[in-house]
């Protein structure tokens, strides 16, 4: 069923009794041309674009829990394409362009809201770094504006501009950045893929990868063996676990990242604001709650919950930026498991096994990349060649010395 204003009105008048489930609950078939492991944003987007843009039929997405139960439903919903390095920037800009047309493309309201992303700076050196990044963005055709203190003050007068330690000197603004309702991204892609006959199989955990003569022939799952022509891994924080089933050791560590939502407030913060002196980012949802987060906890973790020391750290950074947050009540906090790569950039590549494809290493920037990640991964799976915007995300770049180290931290994932 195609959603439209008319279908909404019609079903509303009939008491909303005739809506159909947005996707099926199929039984696994014995064999698929392509199996995607992981029913998160990236896995579902991959299935959607494989079916829609690359003409592959007979696809399954295997999800051990329910779709949207992982990081696609746990992030702080921010989208932006304000990257510095040439290996990253065109890819994230492709993602931004796909976000801009996404709702029309998959006929689902994902509440894409381009309210602007403002990165603050607090010193001359930081201003220079932001100017450099802004210039790099503009050279790639991405919008960027460098604001001084007065311009920031007019936009967001409630910041602590005269903070003794970290006075706010201005900010780098990307007006096309913003937020997207993250659950709707998973649902929209799932519905779009399902309507193109992709089987989305929930509650189906992959427990082994069967190989013969150096090729993958299928996966052992909690619902039995399923054969496949090509196997694509998009397992985010569990990537190392799944890859180990094929004897692959990845340049990844799994870390927990927390996110928070406050009680509902009247309209307060229009766009996304990030602190330059610490790691803190905040936006306000349409329901009124402030959605915010900070650094990863800093230790390897597979537990989807974090630690109080980080809660305190995030709250302090938030209060240093916006003193008015001091009496805010936090309603919920939660954690997601990040696949932290060794240079802070992702991997979309083939592996040493001929028909095994890998999509991993999204660190804590995976949500904004969802459409481009799906599109480029689908391109790779269908054509066995990387998409032109994703040629730098190679698995062997660590060995060959072609790192994409946006932050310049080195192979120390808890610093990225």
């Amino acid at each position: 069923m195609r959603y439209s204003a008319l279908s909404l009105l019609w079903n509303g008048l009939r008491g909303n009794r005739d809506w159909k489930p947005a996707w099926r609950q199929p039984q696994p078939k014995p064999h698929y041309d392509v199996i995607i492991v992981g029913g998160g944003g990236h896995g579902l987007a991959t299935a959607y674009y494989l079916a829609k843009e690359f003409g592959i039929a007979n696809i399954a997405v295997l999800e051990k829990n329910y779709i949207g139960s992982g990081n696609v439903g746990r992030n702080t919903t921010i989208i932006r394409s304000n990257y510095l390095l040439p290996g990253n920037n065109p890819f994230y800009e492709l993602s931004m362009k796909l976000w801009e047309g996404l709702e029309r493309d998959f006929n689902f309201n994902a509440m894409v809201s381009q309210r602007g992303v403002l990165n603050l700076y607090h010193s001359d050196a930081q201003r220079d770094a932001n100017m450099r990044r802004g210039n790099a963005m503009r050279l790639h055709g991405v919008d960027a504006e460098l604001l001084d203190t007065d311009e920031v003050r007019r936009m967001v007068p409630f910041l602590d501009f005269d903070n003794a330690r970290f006075p706010i000197k201005g900010g780098l603004l990307q007006r096309r950045g913003g937020t997207v309702r993250h659950d709707a991204v998973a649902w929209g892609y799932a519905r779009g893929a399902d309507s193109r006959d992709v089987d989305i199989i929930q509650g189906c955990e992959v427990t082994g990868i069967r190989r013969e003569n150096g090729r993958v022939t299928g996966v052992e799952t909690s619902r039995g063996f399923i054969g496949c022509g090509k196997l694509a891994l998009a397992a985010a924080g569990n990537s190392s676990q799944v890859a180990r089933m094929a004897d692959l050791k990845l340049p990844l560590e799994s870390h927990v990242l927390q996110a928070f939502v406050s009680e509902g407030l009247k309209p307060f913060i229009d766009g996304v604001i990030t602190f330059g002196a610490g790691h803190f980012y905040v936006s306000q949802s349409d329901k009124g709650g402030l959605v915010f987060g900070g650094d990863i906890d800093g230790y390897n973790s597979y537990a989807q919950r974090g630690n109080l020391a980080t809660v305190e750290h995030v709250a302090e950074a938030g209060k240093a930026m916006i003193p008015a947050l001091s009496r805010l009540r936090v309603l919920r906090s939660w954690g997601g498991i990040m696949d932290m790569s060794m240079d802070g950039s992702p991997i979309i590549d083939r592996t040493l096994i001929d028909n095994l494809y890998l999509n991993a290493g999204w660190c804590y920037g995976g949500f904004k990349a969802t459409p481009a990640s799906g599109f480029c991964f689908a391109h790779l799976i269908a054509r066995n060649a990387p998409h032109e915007t994703a040629t730098a995300f190679r698995l062997d770049r660590f060995q060959r010395g072609y790192l994409i180290d946006e932050k310049g931290q080195g192979a120390q994932p808890n610093l990225h």
Binding site: N238, S240, Q241, K249, L250, P251, L252, E253, S254, D297, G298, Y299, N300, S301, Y302, A303, N307, A309, M342, F398, Q399, A411, Q412, P413, N414
Partner: protein, 92 residues
């Protein structure tokens, strides 16, 4: 994350006193070759379960420790001094 860490020098101490470095890997010899060094610098087992890590007791004895911790439950099963563990390995 475990709340209390059994430091071999200071006894049971709150985790806030420590800084986590990451995987406690055995450093290859300088002549080990590019593959061994690549493995050491970039590749990780990243297990769900027991994991040996270097922790620094920053606000305590300031010794480097090897903490054996479960990455899913955060239970700490052992904590020993990194220098004496290394000395034992090398038969010193």
């Amino acid at each position: 994350m475990a709340s209390l860490v059994p430091c071999p020098h200071c006894g049971s101490r709150p985790k806030e006193e420590f800084t986590v470095k990451g995987a406690a890997l055995k450093r290859p010899s300088p002549e080990a070759g590019a593959d061994a060094w690549f493995d050491y610098v970039y590749l990780r087992d990243n297990p769900r379960g027991g994991y040996e890590e270097y922790w620094h007791h920053t606000a305590g004895c300031r010794r480097w420790l090897i903490v054996d911790r479960d990455t899913a439950t955060h239970q700490v099963t052992s904590c020993r001094d990194a220098a004496s563990a290394s000395a034992k390995e090398h038969g010193a």
